[in-house]
């Protein structure tokens, strides 16, 4: 079945290859605080989907509960969305993915939603290599309930409440690496140039693609003493590389300087091109990534960029051996064995 988009649009904006304008990827007006990092991430998602010419109905957006989990209403209004319950987005996404392997699943969560109440479901989605993009909008605090520290708040960080956090932080990217997640990236809501290609690459990755995006909370955790504030992150950011996502059918037209760049080919023939800032960095080597993450942490730096990708990733459907056809496409005649078979089954119980 083919659908033709209406041809009229604002003359200054070009439709993408599937005929959609950028506005077709937008959502309703955000009700988050002005300056919230999350809105920038929503913008990056819109940009990424427009640029890769995604048909909006081929993506499902899912979230848990919290400020971050509200954002799916602020992008992709033409996609089905699911704002589930606190910390349980991964299980909803798992079921949805089992039913239809052909959609892109974009899960949005926060540091409270993932690192505390949803930790169990998060790690098990990684373990199963569920084919999804999992974005954590990480601000180190609980915004909706007025600024309590979250489990990703750094040790000693002081939020608006004024108390130094006495607990160790859970590093979600480090944890994902440890658990053998097949795609791990970290970025900053304020760095769209890095974030947009990273989202595009994550969407084409056949497996669990995790993006830990530092996203400052302007209301409760943007103090000078907070390690998740705009100024702190800008001052301490260290990038492994800058990256470009090059879809399969496109030629690489940019000249990248030899020796300072690397290319990772994805399963669908698309490429991620990395201009390496750190010369010894290899994004397909998990051990390097783990070491670099620890080094950066010990220096008080925030390491960003594509930290790790496993180009051999096999997703959950692959591991389970499910049919090539999405399960929700099978009809009664394909699924019901019928009365003759049942009589045979009955006989075995006599």
């Amino acid at each position: 079945m083919s659908y033709i988009k209406p041809a009229f649009h604002h003359p200054s904006l070009k439709p993408n290859k599937v005929g959609y304008l950028k506005k077709d990827y937008r959502g309703v007006i955000s009700t988050l605080c002005a300056g919230c990092g999350h809105d920038s991430i929503s913008g990056a998602i819109v940009q990424a989907c427009y640029e890769i010419s995604l048909e909006p109905h081929k993506l499902a957006k899912l979230s848990g509960i919290g400020c971050s989990s509200k954002t799916p209403t602020y992008f992709l209004s033409n996609s089905h969305g699911f704002n589930s319950v606190h910390g349980r987005m991964p299980s909803i996404t798992t079921g949805a993915n089992m039913a239809n392997k052909d959609l892109i699943y974009l899960g949005v969560s926060g540091d409270g939603d993932t690192a505390s109440i949803g930790m169990g479901q998060f790690v098990h989605a990684i373990r199963r290599n569920l084919n999804m993009v999992y974005i954590v909008m990480n601000n180190g605090c609980y915004g909706l309930t007025k600024g309590q520290d979250s489990a990703t708040a750094d040790f000693g960080s002081i939020s608006k409440e004024g108390n130094a956090n006495p607990y160790q932080a859970i590093d979600l990217a480090g944890l994902a690496l440890e658990l053998n997640a097949t795609f791990v990236g970290r970025s900053f809501s304020g760095d769209k140039n890095q974030l947009v290609p990273m989202i595009k690459a994550a969407m084409s990755h056949p497996g669990f693609a995790f993006l830990d995006v530092i996203s400052p909370c302007v209301t409760f955790n943007n103090t000078k003493t907070s390690t998740k504030s705009y100024s702190h992150v800008r001052d301490h950011i260290e990038a492994t590389s800058t990256l470009d996502y090059v879809p399969f059918e496109e030629e690489i037209t940019v000249d990248y300087p030899e020796g300072e760049s690397a290319e990772v080919e994805l399963f669908d023939g698309s490429k991620i091109h990395l201009s390496k800032l750190a010369p010894d960095f290899n994004p397909t080597d998990r051990f390097t990534a783990v070491n670099r993450l620890h080094e950066a942490k010990s220096k008080g730096q925030i390491l960003t960029g594509l930290l790790y990708i496993n180009p051999e990733s096999k997703d959950l459907h692959n591991l389970m051996g499910t049919s090539d056809k999405p399960l929700n496409q099978f009809k009664q005649k394909d699924l019901c064995p019928g009365s003759t078979k049942l009589e045979e089954i009955n006989r075995a119980f006599r």
């Binding site: 079945m1 659908y3 988009k5 048909e55 909006p56 109905h57 081929k58 499902a60 899912l62 799916p72 209403t73 209004s77 033409n78 996609s79 089905h80 969305g81 699911f82 704002n83 589930s84 319950v85 349980r88 991964p90 299980s91 909803i92 996404t93 798992t94 079921g95 949805a96 993915n97 089992m98 039913a99 239809n100 052909d102 959609l103 169990g120 479901q121 098990h124 199963r128 459907h317 389970m320 051996g321 499910t322 049919s323 090539d324 056809k325 399960l327 929700n328 099978f330 009664q332 394909d334 699924l335 019901c336 064995p337 019928g338 009365s339 049942l342 089954i345 009955n346 119980f349 006599r350």
Partner: protein, 603 residues
């Protein structure tokens, strides 16, 4: 009594140590009796343990077809020293105690009112088999052979069942036959046989099958077209998942050898039901199976499925509660926690099967109802029904039956629609809105599913008016549900008494037997078996037509009675409660005496 010959009416109980292979030997014993055309009810009374604790296997043999449990043990086969004293005490006066006489029975175990039959089981096993594990396994066949001879079982039938049981490992059949013969011959050489309580071939099983309810549920899900199962292991529901997977491997493989199903062992029950919700939201039929503790954990998601109107099929195989409770004993004690699961105003459709055939039928029904009503449907089974084999009508499927997938809009429907799509808009007046599946249409029909208050177009709303419209529609949908759930079953053509007997689920076996006894005593009573919640109008009518209703159920607090009072506004004094909650299935005798006692008090 001593000289009277009793045929096809006895209870044999095997007292074993779990993990010694006794279960399969005992099952072959029961199946052989069934093959002789005699109705049989085996019950596995097992510990929450893998190896080394007492376990019992009780077989009621009843030519009349009484399938409930009966108290009183006619023959006890005691091969577990740990439980010996208790086992001997449990034998009915005049009954038989069959024991391992390899060692002499201590004097404290001697009762004068029962008969002792000593078979040197382990001694015989050790003489014939060198390997200890074999001695242990074949000892079971020795006692099966001995008891079979004592009650006059057809040995050829037993051998046939053994051959079928070990069809995949034919090498071990001869040694099993040999062990069987050891038991048979020992009895023939040392005792008078058969005993005065014995069995005899008859023709009272018809086309019935001997199957457990969990297997029937798993098969039902396959026939209903379920493609996604997500679950977390918990007794006594695990075998539902096992059955689904086992039969899917045979029945659901595509031409490329790939699976037309996804079977996900979740990290916990919360994730299990989350996966089901995700899958059904995305257009697949999906289900989970659990028990009380799992339902407790699923409460949050159950509320979401109710409020966001997402179909879910949940099979709740109840066990003894509260808390971890008695995980390997049966109860009907999750009624209120299932009916009103989750916070806020919620109500859920419950189906109460009472036989494996109905487990199959109602599992299929549950999928149709879930899709039709866009809500959670719980199939309420229990350990007795789920894990024990029951003589049941065969599983039935009508090839003309079409799945009821409910109100789902296709891309064509959306193209043709002139008005805006409202996910929660009651278009037809039955309070059931239309839904769309993600990926259906590029620009039409997308909506945002949420557990927060929403308007007819799925938009977030904090307006009291919008909220009322939505929850009042859900209440109206509950009224629609009443017209769709299975009707009750009646046991009389027309009313003949002002006393009614009301029951559901596994209480049915014992209740039917109790009714027969009342009949014999000319005690008139009308009976109704409720098969669903919300209560069908006919249930309400039956209660109205009787002065007193005896509600029989298997929990301490008479939860079903509470549901009747709460939902139908019945004067509590009219509902007399007979309960059984020690973890063992209720008996006809308990119902009979309970009713007499309660009626005597209330009149």
């Amino acid at each position: 009594m001593e000289n009277e010959i009793i045929v096809n009416d006895l209870v044999v109980r095997f007292a074993n140590v779990n993990g010694t292979g006794s279960a399969s030997a005992n099952e072959m014993f029961a199946k052989s009796i069934f093959r002789m055309g005699i109705p049989v009810t085996p019950k596995n009374i097992f510990p929450s343990n893998i190896q080394g604790l007492p376990t019992w296997y009780e077989v009621r043999i009843s030519e009349k077809g009484h399938l409930g449990r009966r108290a009183g043990i006619d023959i006890l086969v005691g091969v577990n020293p740990q439980s010996l004293k208790r086992d001997i005490e449990s034998v009915t006066p005049g009954g038989y105690f069959v024991y391992d006489s390899s060692k002499k029975l201590h004097e404290e175990f001697i009762r004068t009112d029962i008969n002792y039959i000593g078979i040197p089981m382990i001694k015989l096993a050790m003489e014939h088999y060198p390997v200890p594990r074999l001695q242990q396994l074949l000892k079971n066949m020795i006692y099966v052979g001995a008891v079979a001879t004592l009650i006059d079982m057809e040995i050829e039938v037993l051998k046939e069942v053994i051959a079928e049981q070990f069809a995949a490992k034919p090498k071990i059949i001869p040694s099993n036959y040999q062990a069987l013969e050891l038991g048979i011959n020992y009895v023939k050489e040392h005792f008078e046989y058969p005993l005065n309580i014995r069995i005899k071939r008859c023709d009272n099983v018809g086309d019935a099958i001997l199957i457990d309810g969990n297997t029937a549920c798993g098969l039902g899900a396959i026939y209903a077209g379920a493609t996604v199962m997500a679950w977390y292991p918990i007794t006594p529901s695990t075998s539902v998942a096992k059955a689904f997977e086992t039969y899917c491997k045979k029945l659901r493989i595509d031409e490329d050898g790939k699976k037309k199903y996804a079977f996900v062992q979740a990290e916990d029950e919360l994730a299990a039901i989350g996966m089901v919700i995700g899958a059904t939201w995305n257009g697949a039929r999906a289900f989970t199976a659990t028990s009380g503790p799992g339902v407790s954990l699923m409460n949050e998601f159950i509320g979401l499925s109710y409020f966001a109107e997402i179909p879910v099929v949940l099979i709740n195989v109840q066990r003894g509660g509260p808390s971890t409770g008695m995980p390997t004993r049966t109860q009907q004690a999750d009624l209120i926690s299932s009916a009103y699961a989750s916070h806020g105003d919620t109500k859920h459709v419950l189906l109460f099967p009472s036989s494996p055939a109905e487990c199959f039928e109602f599992t299929i029904k549950a999928f149709d109802l879930a899709d039709r009503l866009q809500t959670l449907i719980m199939l309420i089974s229990d350990l007795d029904l789920g894990m024990n084999n029951h003589m049941s009508p065969p599983l039935a499927w009508d090839d003309d039956k079409k799945y009821d997938l409910g109100k789902v809009l296709s891309a064509e429907d959306l193209e043709e629609m002139k008005e805006d799509f409202g996910r929660y808009l009651d278009v037809d007046g039955d309070a059931i809105p239309y839904r769309t599946i993600p990926g259906t249409h590029p620009t039409k029909g997308s909506f945002f599913t949420r557990g927060t208050s929403h308007d007819e177009y799925a938009k977030y709303s904090e307006s009291g008016e919008v909220y009322l419209r939505n929850v009042d529609r859900l209440a109206q949908k509950w009224e629609t549900a009443k017209t769709l759930v299975p009707e009750p079953e009646f046991y009389q053509k027309e009313n003949r008494s002002n006393v009614g007997l009301l029951f559901f689920g596994t209480t049915t076996y014992a209740a039917v037997e109790a009714m027969e006894r009342f009949e014999e005593e000319d005690f008139m009573i009308d009976s109704i078996r409720v098969r669903a919640f919300p209560f069908h109008q006919q249930v309400e009518k039956f209660i109205e037509e009787h002065e007193q209703i005896i509600v029989v159920e298997q929990n301490r607090d008479a939860q079903f009675r509470t549901l009747l009072i709460n939902e139908l506004d019945i004067n509590p004094s009219r509902l007399i409660s007979v309960v059984n909650y020690d973890g063992m299935p209720i008996t006809a005798k308990a119902i009979q005496s309970g009713i007499k006692e309660k009626l005597a008090v209330s009149t």
